[in-house]
Symmetry: C2
Subunit: 235 residues, 2 copies
């Protein structure tokens, strides 16, 4: 296992991705834990010399989750000096590699482009990369202390997601193909962090004209069965 090659990647440029998933109850994000350090961080990566930025992020997401063609949104670029922390990066590498050179491009300052994605929690097989020994889902309400400015990045991502939720009908990838109105509402509540009125939520969603109603779902409960819906596929 060798260090990433400095001629293959653009120096000083990174991306970090905040990957949201929905457990059926709570909103989660994917976090990595580095080998032998107890340190957590957002999954991120670097941009190859001849690779578009968006493509680099997609590649990283696919490598880590196995998912392709996912709604990915760039939300902010982080370039403060608090980001610079060569000591931490050195320890991460030293915990993994026998020999770490005294100077390396990974120790230098990075400007990081933040992206977020929304994916179906149930379809993910998170794979740790070479630097981390675990990658797992964490409650957005219980995010541990993260490296660098990653806690701030998570905050910003959530903020962006909340304010743009309606416009972007984001839930597309957070739910399975077919879902009930209640499940859709739970997604909204998990993201916005507050209860929604059931009747009004239903009215609003139906009025948007983006839902297709299918057969009912008989779950066995002694009550009216809900309809299943899917998102209208624009032709």
């Amino acid at each position: 296992m060798s260090l990433p090659d400095s001629t293959q990647y653009l120096p000083h440029i990174a991306y970090d991705s905040v990957i949201f998933g929905f457990s059926g109850e709570k909103l989660k994000i994917l976090l990595m834990e580095y080998h032998n350090t107890g340190w957590f961080a957002l999954p991120g990566g670097f941009v190859k010399v001849n690779e578009p930025l968006d493509e680099a992020v997609n590649r990283g997401l696919k490598e880590r989750t196995g998912l392709d063609q996912i709604y990915l949104e760039q939300f902010h670029t982080f370039g403060s000096l608090e980001r610079v922390n060569p000591e931490a990066m050195r320890k991460i590498l030293e915990a993994q590699h026998k020999e770490v050179p005294s100077r390396h491009w990974l120790f230098e300052r990075f400007i990081s482009v933040g992206y977020y994605a929304l994916i179906d929690y149930t379809k993910v097989e998170a794979k740790p990369d070479s630097l981390s020994d675990s990658i797992d889902w964490y409650d957005v309400g219980e995010v541990p202390q993260l490296l660098f400015d990653h806690n701030y990045i998570v905050e910003k991502a959530l903020e962006h997601l909340r304010t743009h939720l309606d416009q972007k009908l984001l839930s597309v990838n957070l739910l399975p193909e077919r879902f009930t109105m209640k499940e859709l509402q739970q997604v909204y509540e998990a993201i916005l962090g507050e209860k929604q009125n059931r009747a009004n939520f239903q009215r609003k969603m139906l009025s948007l004209g983006i839902l297709e109603r299918h057969e009912k779902l008989y779950s066995g409960g002694s009550h009216k069965a809900p309809f299943l819906y899917s998102f209208h596929t624009r032709s």
Copy 2:
């Protein structure tokens, strides 16, 4: 005049700024024209090794306009491969410098962070930098062909400005200290690109509670004189 030093700046990282001004009638942006090439581009710059990104952009804005403490908003980071155009950069440098090395960090690929600013058109003394022989205002409706992906960047900036206009009461810096309701409306119309209903516009602005009403402005016209307003300064 020497080329910028590669040890002083972060390679591969640039910013471009779309600086909006209001002429009293139309929305304008600042564009630079490079020496002896007839080429136009957005004013932009590079980030120093120990300088926060935001600070770099503020420094550039101040250098070019003399204005400080201006509303600056980051809106998108551009990282496609169409951005790469070493030939154009070479010609720009050659038109200015006697000797240009065959290899230079300015010829390599840049990822650029886009910012926009809103400033008082009348307070600006635009100063060309060493690479450009003019910097001037252009109508947003009549932007000439720009270098690299700068036309796309302008589009994105306008889009962002339009969709966030209400939330951010941006006009703060586009108008003089005191202004009439009509002038405020003209700013909105110039940005949104469409007429607003006078009565409804007034009602909405007043209901926001961000305006302070002052004395009337007697312009000499044979009609009712308008009030002057300023933006409420939160204490």
